[in-house]
């Protein structure tokens, strides 16, 4: 595999598109931090111990926090965890001067913790996580390996299994893939194009056969109903 190789974690049976979950965030707080006070939309993770949480809300609170290390014979591979989020998110949705505050300080700890010294705009794993997935089975970009991997090379993955998916019976997967101009490997689209194309051909053949067997001149006025009637009478 040629670099860049993209590492994804895949979760299933995980409803990031649940309405309660999707709504439990505050875009203004992400941008302006503590200056923005109205965080009622973040319930039930809007404050703990009487202090507001930055970033608030269930999405941030449930941040995915498994970590992976890829080791090959020559040593551990370098996983780049920068540039994994959309540029517009980094630059316009998460404040450059907003630092995590009072995060994961409650009685119940959800997911990963954040380094309070790094501004939100640089917390790319959080940014990726907060761009919610559309379906309950989803992949999210974890990092990028920027070196080639040879065929048949054995890579050991050391993973820290922090994230709780057992309680709802979800599965976790790691996916490594490369991309091309079309994005990733997309079997469906290719197959679908071929299938639709084939069906067009088949149908046209079918129509042609029917037409040969039961020919009917187009626009023959004798088929008009009133002509039929008058023939009959």
């Amino acid at each position: 595999m040629k670099a860049p190789i993209y590492i994804y974690y895949e979760l299933d049976n995980y409803y990031q598109n649940h309405r309660r979950f999707v709504k439990s965030r505050n875009d203004k707080q992400l941008l302006y931090g503590l200056k923005y006070k109205d965080t009622s939309s973040c319930k039930p993770e809007e404050s703990s111990n009487g202090l507001p949480i930055v970033p608030c809300g269930l999405i941030a609170w449930s941040l995915f926090n498994d970590s992976y290390a890829f080791v090959r014979d020559r040593g551990e591979m370098n996983v780049n965890r920068k540039n994994i989020a959309w540029k517009s998110d980094r630059e316009h949705k998460f404040g450059k001067h907003v630092y995590p505050f009072n995060f994961q300080n409650g009685t119940l700890i959800g997911g990963g913790k954040l380094d309070p010294s790094i501004p939100l705009s640089d917390q790319e794993d959080l940014i990726v996580w907060m761009r919610t997935a559309a379906l309950p089975t989803f992949r999210k970009l974890y990092g990028i390996i920027e070196e080639d991997i040879d065929a048949d090379e054995i890579i050991t993955v050391h993973l820290v299994n922090n994230y709780n998916t057992y309680s709802f019976g979800g599965k976790k997967k790691i996916v490594l893939t490369t991309s091309n101009w079309l994005g990733g490997k997309n079997g469906f689209l290719g197959m679908a194009y071929i299938a639709i194309g084939t069906s067009f051909v088949l149908i046209s053949v079918l129509f042609a056969l029917i037409h040969v067997k039961y020919p009917r001149p187009r626009g023959d006025p004798t088929y008009l109903s009133w002509n039929r009637k008058s023939n009959a009478s």
Partner: protein, 1153 residues
Amino acid sequence: MPGKRRRALHLCEMGSFPCARPPPAGDGGGGAGYSRVVYCNDPGCPEATQLDYPGNAISTTRYTVANFIPKSLFEQFRRVANVFFLIVGIVSFSPLAPYRAVSVLLPLIVVVGATMIKEAFEDWRRKKQDIEVNNRKVQVYDGTRAFYQTEWKKLRVGDIVKVEKDEFFPADLLFLSSSFDDGICYVETMNLDGETNLKRKQCLEVTTTLHNECSFHKFKALIRCEDPNEKLYSFIGTMQYQGAQYPLAPQQILLRDSKLRNTQHIYGVVIFTGHDTKVMQNAMDPPSKRSNIERRMDKIVYVLFSGLVLIASTGSIFFGIKTKGEISDRNYRWYIRPDKSSIYFDPSRVALAAFFHFLTSLMLYGCLIPISLYISIEIVKVLQSTFINQDREMYCEETDKPACARTSNLNEELGQVNTILSDKTGTLTCNSMEFVKCSIGGVGYGSGLSEAEEAVRRGSQYESSELKDPPISSEGYNCAAVTRKSVKGFNFKDDRLMNRQWIKEPQSDVIQKFFRILAICHTAIPLVNNSSGDISYEAESPDEAAFVTAARELGFQFYERTQTSISLHEFDPNIGRKVDRTYKLLNILEFSSTRKRMSVIVKTEEDQLLLFCKGADSVIFERLAKNGQEFEAKTKCHINYYSEAGLRTLAIAYRKLSVEEYKKWHEEFLLAKSSVNADRDAIVDETAEKIERDLILVGATAVEDRLQKGVPECINKLAQAGIKIWILTGDKLETAINIGYACQVLRKCMKQIVITLDTPDIDALKKGENNAIEKALHESVAKQIRDAHSQVSVLKGSSGLFALIIDGNSLAFALSRSLENLFLDLAVDCAFVICCRTSPKQKALVTRLVKRSTRKTTLAIGDGANDVGMLQEADIGVGISGVEGMQAVMSSDFAIAQFRFLERLLLVHGHWCYRRIAAMICYFFYKNITFGFILFWFEAHAFFSGQPAYNDWYISFYNVAFTSLPVIALGVFDKDVPSRICLKFPSLHQDGVHNIFFSWPRILGWMLNGVCSSVIIYYFTTSAILQQPFNKDGHGAGTDILGAAMYTCVVWTVNCQLALCLGYFTWIHHVFIWGSIFFWYIFLIIYGSFPPTISTTAYRVFLEACAPSPLYWLSTLFVVISALLPYFLYSTFQRTFFPKYYNIIQSVRLENH
């Protein structure tokens, strides 16, 4: 004056105007309904002010500034869809809402706002008009010496006003005096009834002397009259002046909104002001009619509502089950904190949560209900009406009248017409009468053939009766030799009478009498052309004009009328040259539909008192003197022959009066005329009856009403289109049958079934007791119908067509409850039905019966006041804006200038409008279902939690921005075949009659298509773009990208679907369809460039994520093609192997191109 419209009071037809009156109210004056008191020239006196009659200001607006908002809002929210969206909008402020409240309310505000602006604009135009009218100036007497100018709105009841030439009357006035010495004036009532002919008004003789300002100083009078009512042609009242009572008649009343013509000025007293005036009392909203399609559309909206409730409750049940499961150990979704849940997601109170979820779902799937459907349809229909109004093919050059769609909500109904009920006179015929034949002293004159005769002669084996042996002996004339200029209303050729040859006839004295009666017994006004000296006539009915013209052509030129005299240039056979003779006019006993005759009483220069009478034959024959029956038999023969030839006949008679008899009668008559109460007309009629007896028959006239241009062809086309045609006429049986032949309604191959009570054995029956007669007549009709019915059912299918002809008397029985259904069964089996001798009320009854029992669309077409009931009763009323007044047009839904335009109106516009509206509504439901179901599929994959797949604003813009204009283009411009083909293949019309474009299978098919498209779009898009990296940088696609991509596919699919089912493309279609798609991208760019706090998930989603990604474009292409595939396959398959008529015709057109 070709093309000039006139009013006709048909002498032969029944009651044009309502004759029913309220029951008599007490004695002479006063009483309920007759309580109005006017203190002339003293509006300020205490008694007058006490009466408190309203001012003369009028307001025709529907709203005022104060009540506009509440009232128009109320009107808006009578639509169930709007109420739904209002409730949704209110609930969306609660946390239940799946998206922001403003995005729910915006489309509602746009839709309601647009409709309200439309209402406000229309009302504002009315208001402007009101202000203009209220501030017109009029001269009012100040009570002392002079007239001063003031505004209309300041007039009070009792004021004396002066109206100048060509001004409108500001209120209903009592005519006091005019600039003419004899106290007449001429008015034009164009605004009241559309008639442009001048009407003569006549003031009371006592007031003619009130000529100048000074004379009003002492003028005081008290008027007692009827209360405000809407009857334009009646007025009952008395004036108390100088101690005497004078009766008032409509002759003395000048109505508001009519115009003073040919008179320098008049003086009048205001009797009715403002909204009390007759014209305002007449302004009433016509009964509102709704089309079949619209009614069915309402049902579909309810279907969609139930669909909405169904999927919302399905979602809620699943949500409930899933949420309940959250609490269990194996399914504990800690990331949504079920332990700290809000009430809406609380697993421990599932039922409540599910209920709230249900409300959420209602909001989420609200887009299933097409909010913009109603306003789109309204816009489309208004535009369609414009097309009808501006169709040059339906523009009548002679009368300068285009077609006019007076209501726009019945356009599509035109394409579904199954039965046409047509009036005859003025509708099928021109109603410009031509004098063609006459019978004088038992000798028939006139050699021309009527159209009906020609049609009969041409090709029918119609049994000629003995009477048809020409009563005109052929040696007496040779018509070909004479060429002369044609005279309107005169088509009489007979050299025995013309060019003064009549004096050589054996009965020249009778002939002289005959034409003298024609020249004197009428109410026409001569108009002398100053330059040429020619005289033309303005008459109340075209019949009269024809008579006077005929008299003129034969040497009895009527040239002057004053209030008390009529003057003629007469040819005197004794002297051998023209002499002027003046007849002193004593009384006019006017025509009315109940009397069916009119008479004048004159005094000749020899002091002889004569009564001249003309009227319907039945009426005149009843009143003949013993010695006046000399010509009765022969005249009867001629009359029968004439009416068989499709001519209208009148009998002419006179009577000599003795001075004593006249004097006695005259007193009685004056008394009757001056009584003020409800049955005055009846009393006057009764008195008139006393003198109109012992008549001496002179002869009969026959005038022809020529068929309008193109009527037979049009009827033929309509018959080919499978439309049933009923002719409802007031004519005699024979006339009706002949007109039937002339316009090819009847053909020789048809079997005629005649149901009539005019047979000898029935006549014999009539001598018994009243009840017995009734019963016997009923039995007779029942028997005839039953016989006919069995005859029809035996022969049905074998020999084809039947025509049913029924007369008015029989119809009355046939329409009775017990025979109704039997009659209708019979009528439905017949291709044509002619009802003759029908009264206006029967016309309306027949229409109602047909409409109710066949449950098919009926169209009534007529031109006169007697058709109003019929027009209002039918599903569609079409008025002919031709020769008669505007009353039919005023109560119609469509107005056309000639009958032949009906062909184009129905077969072309009807067909198109029906197709367009049907296609439009089906498509509307399709596009909303496609959109709504995608949301449902997404929700199903989002834990049924009520999360929308799209950004809020995408949803609210769907109906108003990305899909609204193309569907309007479909509704306005689409056509399956051009008009030429519509007319060439009239059977296309059957599509509408059978409602194939809006049948339930078709509607459900479209809905199914919507569901299919939604499934394809949802599953194909998610499969294509999720999971795998979305672009080269390895970013994945989230809800935001999926939403945008899926929405792109929806916009493309629904717009391409529209393009697929369009039959006709103009640049407008291209601009709207491709423009809407393009606008979606523009919208996405603009919306995406707002700060993320506003645009949320749409922030830069297009420019950053979608546009650069080939995957996005490739999957759009693929998904759109696959989503269109089912419809494409189906329509190709159906078109190729099971083509519908229009498909075949479309290909006929292609092949022959």
